[in-house]
């Protein structure tokens, strides 16, 4: 494309995320062509997508309707207690088979012509298969076995259920990797109980949310609840690390130092911030009952592409990130506790739900921010963001003032999407 020269011409910019992930053209947030490529290369490609918790489908026949990317899928538990998942589309004429959000069923029938499938997705019932009274049915060579629902590979890791369209992607444990697996084990070290979900819809691109959960830099700047009530301290000890393999998964942990564990230290904090004049009347919302070896106030762990595991104080959530076209995404917050929670602990988890989700004291601004980006970048697809914080100190992983996790994400995204230097956006922008 030729750009007119003159005072208004923009400086030359990279046409795809550059190799180190520090410059990303805004087209990735609003291009339908790029979105379509993501569905093929990521959600139907070499990735495992989070569907839900095993605790949501404990009994044989329990099922939940959900999505991989924007494809409707169903996860269910089969007769022998294993997990299954299939694309929610009848093999006959393409209608959605399962019409409920969740429930229990011993088989699933399409309402349109009542083709019936078992829990694994195998077709076993076709009305009038052999016709009726000499009137023809299906052809004699019609093979039920090859006309089942599209089955997906399913695996679970510590009670988290994932599925993939890919026959070639590595096993789930390898995909998660040992570093991220270790952090997941921290949260999922004993059986969990599903406590329900809340849903939030944002008019912005799904990758803006992944940037957000890989961005500790914004935490005390956007979420003023932190600073107003003096919760988040810039000097906190932190872990900011990636999976160390493809770089798409990551964790941010903000750690409470030993000397601040006591309530006396909390009071000191309040004194230091006294001039702000703001305190909470009910401070129990900020309690932190020790449950883990490492006392973290925040554990934010995206497992690319659809999962973000979150521990904030004592509230626990598996967030599912679902793209809904280039300009929208849905977040499903799966709240959970542990099966052996005391009633007091369970109540604290519910109370601390006020911190997170669509009305969360320290989260309600996130979707506002991603929508502001979506609105800001609408026309300038080849202009780029600037993602440089702590770029000169790649070895630092103990700081919250860094954008290294975002850079790592974009570098991995570029590889996965096949945007190489000779083919910046591939066919996507043709």
């Amino acid at each position: 494309m030729t750009v007119a020269t003159g005072e208004l011409a923009s400086p030359p910019v990279p046409e795809a995320p550059i190799a180190d992930g520090s410059r990303v053209p805004y087209a990735v947030f609003h291009s339908q062509a790029i979105y379509d490529r993501e569905q093929e290369r990521i959600f139907r490609g070499e990735a495992w997508s989070f569907l839900g918790l095993e605790a949501e489908i404990k009994q044989t026949g329990d099922f939940k309707s959900t999505f991989i990317g924007d494809t409707p899928v169903v996860m269910t538990r089969t007769q022998d207690g294993r997990l299954a998942a299939w694309v929610n589309r009848c093999a006959h004429r393409g209608a959605m088979v399962c019409r409920q959000l969740r429930g229990n069923a011993s088989s699933h029938a399409c309402v349109y012509h009542q083709w019936r499938y078992d829990l694994e997705g195998n077709l076993f019932g076709v009305p009038f298969l052999r016709g009726l009274n000499g009137q023809a049915g299906m052809p004699a060579d019609f093979d039920r076995a090859s006309n089942g629902l599209r089955k997906l590979r399913v695996e679970s890791y510590a009670g988290l259920v994932f599925a993939t369209f890919s026959e070639t992607v590595e096993p789930l444990a390898d995909y998660i990797g040992p570093v991220m697996g270790g952090y997941l084990n921290r949260i999922f070290h004993k059986p969990v109980e599903y406590l329900g979900c809340t849903r939030q819809f944002s008019n912005s691109n799904w990758k803006l949310y992944l940037e957000n959960v890989k961005d500790p830099y914004h935490a005390s700047l956007l979420h003023l609840f932190h600073t107003t009530f003096n919760i988040f301290r810039v000097g906190m000890k932190a872990h900011c690390v990636t999976d160390g393999r493809h770089g798409m998964h990551s964790i941010i942990m903000a750690i409470k130092e030993a000397q601040t564990e006591t309530s006396a230290a909390y009071k000191d904090q309040k004194i230091r911030s006294f001039d702000s004049g703001f305190t909470l009347e009910d401070e129990s919302i900020l309690a932190l009952v020790p449950e883990y070896e490492v006392m973290a106030t925040n554990h934010i762990q995206p497992i690319f592409p659809q999962l973000v595991v979150q521990q904030i104080h004592n509230t626990l959530v598996a967030r599912q990130l679902l793209p809904k076209g280039p300009n929208a995404f849905e977040l499903v917050f799966h709240f959970f506790g542990y099966e052996d929670d005391t009633p007091e602990m369970r109540k604290l988890r519910i109370k601390q739900a006020n911190l997170v989700g669509p009305a969360g004291y320290i989260s309600m601004e996130d979707t506002e921010a991603t929508e502001l980006v979506q609105q800001g970048v609408v026309r300038d697809g080849r202009a780029t963001s600037v993602i440089d914080m702590a770029k000169d100190a790649p070895e630092q992983s103990d700081t919250l003032i860094t954008e290294k996790l975002i850079r790592s994400f974009w570098a991995g995204y570029k590889r996965l999407m096949g945007f190489d230097d000779s083919d910046p956006f591939g066919a996507a922008l043709q």
Binding site: T228, F333, K351, N354, P358
Partner: protein, 157 residues
Amino acid sequence: MIDLTLRQTLLALQDEYISTLDTDALELWPEMFVEDCHYEIIPKENFDLGLPAPVIYCDSKAMLRDRVVSLRNANIFQPVVYRHFFSGLSFQPLDEGALEMRSSYLVINTNQLGQSTVYQTGRYHDVVVEAGGRWRFKSKRAIYDTSRIQTALAIPI
């Protein structure tokens, strides 16, 4: 036989509640509740399954005041204009002068561009008591049908 005087009293209570939210009189909102109160916004999806995960959950008037202080001084959100509508009021007596009250609600939200959309529909499940010559909420649960919350929920329902 419906006690029409009582019904008028309860309608007036709901009108007053809605008025505090729709006119940005948030500081008056906690005053609609007794000290030892319960306030909750929860999706119908969870309510129907007996699951507790809420959007907002307060178990004291202090928590309601905290929410207002935070909204006024800490949280960042697009200015919201709510218009609440309610209908289908029913009520029945509980023990010790308390009443159980239910109604349907609709909240239309208007953004800064002037676009008005259905933001939330649901049912209020309330318990109201008379104290000091004034009816107030002992418990208010907004059980919403519109399960996807658009962008964020800052102002109470």
